[in-house]
Amino acid sequence: MTHKYTPRNMKKRKNPPVKKSPPCALLVFLIVIGGMIATFCGIGALVLFVSSFESTTTPTTATLDLAYSPEKDALMQDLIARFHKANYQTPSGLPMRINATRMDAADMVDAARAGRFTAISPDSSLWLAQIDAGRQRALVGEAARFAVTPIVIAMWSDVAQSLGYPQKQIGWQNLLAKAKSDPNFKWSHPSTSSASGLLATLAVFYAGANKTRGLTEEDVKNRAVLDYVSALEKTVRYYGEGEQATIDQVLKRGRSYLDAFVVSERLVIYFNSKSPQKLVAIYPVEGTLWQDHPLALLEQPGLTDEQRLTFRRFRDFLLSPEIQKVILQAGYRPVDLNLRLDEPVSPIKLSNGVDPAQPQTTLQMPSAAIIEIVQAAWHLTKRPANIYLVADTSGSMGEQDKLTQAIDALDTFLDQVQGEHDRVGLVPFASRVYNVIALQEIGTHRAMLKAQVRAFKASGQTALLDAVAYAYDDLQRRNDRERINAIVVMTDGIENASSIKLNQLVDKIKRGNASGVPVVIFCIGYGSDADWNVLNTLAEATGGFARRADPETIRKLYKILSTYF
C-alpha cells in the first residue's frame, strides 16, 4: 500500500514529468512525506504491539476447573454440554467454560487443598467441612446445592420381605443381624471415600454404640464398639470404588452378586429402569443421610473475577427451572420446591421401588473431627486381605523401561499396604513361575518382598495364565473366608507359554468362586501390546478390573484396590 500511494508512483501514473519543479522543493516534500509515513508505520506498529501483547496475556475464556463426584458422571456431562451450548459470555466477552474432572470425594478434598480446582461438586457437603477443617482462612466460598437424594439400602424385594418388609419397619440393625447370622448373605457398601460409604460406616458405628445420635470420640475409639464394627465389616462382600461401580456390577452379574447394598435412592431408580429384576429402597428406620450435591467455589489464590462470574452463571443455570426438571428426570430430588415429586415426569414413585414420602428420620451427623476418626478406624476394622502380586518378568518387560516401572509400582504398593492385617505374596513369572514368596503378613516380610522385587531381571517368555492359576489355586487351598482374597497381575505381554488355556482358567475361577472362596483379580497392563482380551476376561470373571499402568493408577493402586478389600 505504501508503494501504491508514493508520490513517485502517482507522478508516473497520472502526471507527466515536470521539469520546472526545483529539485530541492521535491526533496523537502519527499522528506516530509517519508517522515509522515514513518510516523504512521511507527504508531501502527505500536498499536499492533500493544494489542498483541494484550492478547497473549489476557485469557481467552473464563474457565472454571471443576471436580465432580463419579456417581453423577452422566448427569454432569449432560449439564455441562447444555451449559456450553448456551454460549454464555462474561461482560468482557469471554466465553464461559467448564473444564470438568471426575473424582471421588475423598480425593477431591486433597485436590482442593492442593489448589487443583476452582470449583467442586462432591456428593455431600460434609466434604466441604473437611476441606476447611483446621484452616485459618476458609477455602470454600460461595456454595449452593442443586440436587439431593437420600442414601438407602437397596435390596431385592424377596430379600426385603424375608426381613419383614413392608409390614415391619426395617433398618441397619436388621441388615447387620442378617449379615452376622447368615454366612451366605452378601452385602456391600462403598468405601468411606463416598458419602454413601461413610454413612454406612457411621451407621455401623452408631449400631455398635447402641445410639442414633450423640456419637462421641470416646464411642468411636471404644474397644467394644470397634470389635462390633470389625465383626460386621468382615461380613461385607466387597467395598468397590463407589456406588455407581457397585450398581454396574449388579447390572452385569445379576442378583447372585449381592443381596443388599448401600447406594443413593437415585441409583435404585436407575437400576430398575435398566433391569427386569427389581430392587426396593429401604429407608433405614434408625435414620439415614442425604447426598446434597453442592456446587462450591474455591477461593484459590489467583481466582479471577471472570471465573467467579462463570461459577455464578453455572450455579444459576443448574438452579433454573428447566435444568431442575432435567435433574428430577435423572432421579434426583430437585432443590426447586416448585417442582413436585409427583410430577408426570418424576421417576420418584413407588412403582420404581422408591418412596417420595421417605425418609422419616436421619442419623445425627457428627462433627468433621469425629468423621475423620471414623474414616481412620474403618481402615483398621474393615476386612483384611490376602493379596498375591503376580509379576511379569518376561523378556519384553525389559523394553521401554516397563520392568523398571513395574518394579517401582510394586515397591510403592508394598510401602502403601497398611497395618499388620493384610497378607501379601509374590508370584514372579516369565516362561514359568519361579521364586514364589508365599502369603505372609506384610509386617513381617515387607523388606524381603521389596528386595526380591528389586532383583527382577527381564528374560524369557510369558506364562501369564499359569502364574494366575498358581496364585488362584493357593488362595483356594487356604480357603480363608475371614479375608478378601485378591490377585494383582502386572504384565505387558501376550500369553505364549502357559499350559492352561484361558477358557479353562476362567471355568476354574468361576467354579472355584462359586463353591470356594471368592477371589478378585485386578490386572495392570504395561505397554501397547498387552493382551486386553485376556486381562479383561480374567478381571470380569471375578468382579475386578483391568487398567493401563498410567502414573495415576500406579500412584493410587493400593488405595483403589483397598476399596475392594
Binding site: S125, R145, P359, T362
Partner: protein
C-alpha cells in the same frame, strides 16, 4: 510538481495524519479510566435472610440507570451472614470497605460502633441525622413445626405449650418420638437451629432459649456461664441433626429434607412463610407457625459506613438506594417475601398477603405479645459462641 500540488498533498497528508493519530489515541484511551465518567459504585453487604430481596431491588435500581451529579449509580450486593461481617468489621478485613451494611439487627451495628468508638473515638455508623441507620423491614423468630409433630407435642405437654422448655423435654426423651406419643419411624426429636458460626439467627436462638430458661428478657454473661444453664443448653443442642451442613440457612433444610432432618425449630417468620408452600408440595405434612412468649425481632437496618473510605457522593448515592428500598413497590416485594414492611403505606393484611394465606397454619398479621428480648452485650454473645465451639461444634 508545482507548489499548488505540493501544498495540496501536504494538506491531505496532514489531515490523514490527524485522523490516524486521533484514531490511535481513541483506541488507547479506552483503557485509561476517566474519573468524570465512572459510575458511583455502591458496595452493599446484606444479611442472608434479606439478601435475595435486596439483590432483586438492586437489579431494578441498576436497570433504571439512576444518577447523581451526572454519574450513574451502580449497586453491587454481597450476601454475608451478620456474625461473619461483624468479625470482618472488628478485624478490619473488608477490602474494599462496603458502602452499606444491612445486618440482621440494629444491635449488631451497635457492636461495631462500640469497637470503633474505642479505636477512633467516634461512631462509624450513625444513629441519628440524615445518614442514620434505618430499618428496611422487620421479621421475628417464630416456631415452625411439622403439624403432626406439633399436635403430638401439644398432646404431651398441653395446648399452646410449645416453648423452649417443652422442646428441651422433647429433646432429651431417650425413647425418642414413641416416648412422646409419636411414631417410631419419626426417630428421636430433631431440632433445627442454624449454626451460630454461620448464621446470626443461630446465636439469637440460643439467646432466646436463655430468655425462656430464666424467664426474663435481658441475658447477661453470668446467665450464660451458669453450669446448670449450660447443661440444659447442651442437652437441647444435642437434638440438632447437623451443624456441619452446607446450609447456614436452615428453613431451606426444613423444606428440602423435611421432617427427616428437623421436626421443628425457632426460625425467622419470613423464611417460614416463604417456604410454607414448598414444604407442602414436597412433604405430606404441613408446617405450623407458633409465636413465642418472648419475641426476638430483626429490623435489618440500612447503615452507611461513615469512615473516610466512603466519599460524600457515595453517601448520597446510598441514600438514593435506601429511598428506593423504602418505596411502596419495593416494600410490597418485601412483603411478598414474608417480611413486615417498614413503610407503613404497605399493608400485609391484603388478600394476597402471605400472612393471610397462612393464617390457618398460625401466621398472624399482628403479634399480640409485647415482651421483646433485649440484645445482649458483646461479652455475652462471645461467651455463647465460645461455649458453642467447645461443647457443640466440637
Amino acid at each position: 510538481m508545482n507548489k499548488t500540488r505540493l501544498i495540496f498533498f501536504t494538506f491531505i497528508l496532514l489531515a490523514l495524519l490527524i485522523i490516524g493519530v486521533s484514531f490511535v489515541i481513541q483506541q488507547l484511551s479506552g483503557n485509561i479510566p476517566n474519573p468524570t465518567a465512572q459510575p458511583i459504585q455502591l458496595r452493599v453487604v446484606a444479611a442472608l435472610p434479606i439478601e435475595p430481596w435486596v439483590q432483586d431491588a438492586a437489579q431494578k435500581f441498576n436497570a433504571e440507570k439512576r444518577s447523581l451529579e451526572g454519574r450513574t449509580i451502580v449497586v453491587n450486593v454481597t450476601p454475608m451472614d451478620s456474625v461473619t461481617a461483624l468479625g470482618k468489621w472488628d478485624r478490619g478485613e473488608f477490602n474494599p470497605v462496603p458502602t452499606v451494611w444491612i445486618p440482621d439487627s440494629r444491635y449488631l451495628v451497635e457492636l461495631v460502633n462500640a469497637t470503633y468508638s474505642a479505636k477512633l473515638g467516634r461512631d462509624v455508623f450513625l444513629t441519628d441525622g440524615e445518614y442514620r441507620a434505618r430499618p428496611l423491614v422487620t421479621s421475628l423468630f417464630s416456631w415452625g413445626i411439622y403439624k403432626s409433630r406439633a399436635e403430638t407435642l401439644e398432646k404431651k405437654f398441653g395446648k399452646d405449650n410449645i416453648n423452649w422448655k417443652t422442646i428441651h423435654d422433647a429433646a432429651i426423651a431417650r425413647g425418642g418420638w414413641p416416648e412422646l406419643g409419636g411414631e417410631k419411624a419419626w426417630g428421636y426429636f430433631k431440632l433445627i437451629v442454624p449454626n451460630p458460626r454461620k448464621n446470626a439467627a443461630g446465636l439469637l436462638a440460643m439467646v432466646a432459649a436463655a430468655g425462656e430458661y430464666y424467664d426474663k428478657t435481658t441475658i447477661t454473661t453470668e446467665d450464660v456461664t451458669n453450669p446448670q444453664f449450660q447443661k440444659w443448653l447442651k442437652e437441647l443442642m444435642g437434638a440438632v441433626t447437623d451443624f456441619s451442613s452446607l446450609s447456614s440457612y436452615t428453613v431451606e433444610d426444613l423444606a428440602l429434607f423435611g421432617y427427616s432432618v428437623g421436626d421443628g425449630g425457632q426460625l425467622l417468620e419470613s423464611d417460614l412463610l416463604v417456604n410454607m408452600s414448598g414444604i407442602q408440595t414436597r412433604w405430606a405434612d404441613p408446617l405450623v407457625i407458633v409465636y413465642p412468649k418472648y419475641l426476638t425481632w430483626f429490623d435489618f437496618p440500612f447503615t452507611i459506613w461513615m469512615g473516610a473510605e466512603t466519599s460524600a457522593i457515595e453517601k448520597n448515592a446510598a441514600l438514593q438506594f435506601q429511598k428506593f428500598l423504602l418505596s411502596a413497590p419495593i416494600q410490597s416485594a418485601a412483603a411478598a417475601r414474608g417480611f413486615r414492611p417498614a413503610n407503613t403505606e404497605v399493608s400485609i393484611a391484603g388478600a394476597d398477603s402471605l400472612f393471610v394465606k397462612w393464617k390457618d397454619y398460625g401466621a398472624k398479621t399482628f403479634v399480640p405479645s409485647t415482651a421483646r428480648m433485649r440484645a445482649p452485650d458483646r461479652d455475652t454473645l462471645q461467651t455463647l459462641l465460645r461455649w458453642f465451639d467447645l461443647n457443640v461444634a466440637k
